[in-house]
Amino acid sequence: MQFQELYLYAEGLPHPPVGFDFLRAKVKAFHPSIARVDVFRVEYPVPNRQAHYRLGDRERTSPYDDEHDVAEIIYCHALEADAREMRYALTKELMHIFDSPAAMVDTAEKFRQFLREIQNKPLPADSSAMLLSELDTRWMAALILCPKKFRDQYVADYKSKKLQNFDIAEIFDIPEWVAPFVMDDYYESAFKKLLPDLPV
């Protein structure tokens, strides 16, 4: 399954919002190597409203078993205070099922390097595919939660100030901070790069 296939399911809905559970059901049904997407709620002593993604199989005992993998998205319970923030965070993490092989953090050595990269925020030229995938998924989540067919209906009113960030957040059920970059002209550029086979 490619990102484009999942995006087209979202765009095929009769109207927004695009549900996280709708997306994960499509992944379960149509992704050839992912058996399911499990979502876990955990508690941290100091709530951080964070989430992370893990791909693997906890039950597998041999790397040679012919089993499908399980995608896990683990979130801090404090994210539940803002349902939109939580859905955007979980959707962004779900987009990592499309990570390229070079972007996979699949060894302890890569894991250590990746943590340092997130901490140090290297220059783009020095960033690994692992770190760059974090930026890609930020936009992939925005595109799939705000499919172009629906988003374009509101651009003129947004630019003329008839609609505010609040309104866009209401329509797509996204955090308000996502609305400005979804309604920005850069959306078109991100769309072309991440969905190159679809008409703009």
Partner: protein
């Protein structure tokens, strides 16, 4: 290397048993000012809860949404 980072690495990439094929963080693309140590601690605490069975499996994330048909 910090203890938490090594502990997280050992939990995710054990010598035997279920290995991790990929791990990523929400904050990686959207937030500044986070340390490698705190990310590792996040992983360790989550892994402990999942393995102990105290993490809750969430079946319905969109319960607040208008159902989409």
């Amino acid at each position: 290397m910090s203890t938490q980072i090594e502990r997280a690495a050992q939990m995710l990439f054990p010598d035997e048993g279920g290995r991790t094929l990929n791990i990523k963080f929400f904050c990686g693309g959207v937030e500044n000012n986070i340390s490698a140590e705190s990310l590792a601690e996040q992983v360790v605490r989550a892994e402990v809860q999942i393995r102990a069975g105290s993490a809750r499996l969430v079946e319905n994330v969109d319960s607040h949404l208008t159902p989409v048909t």
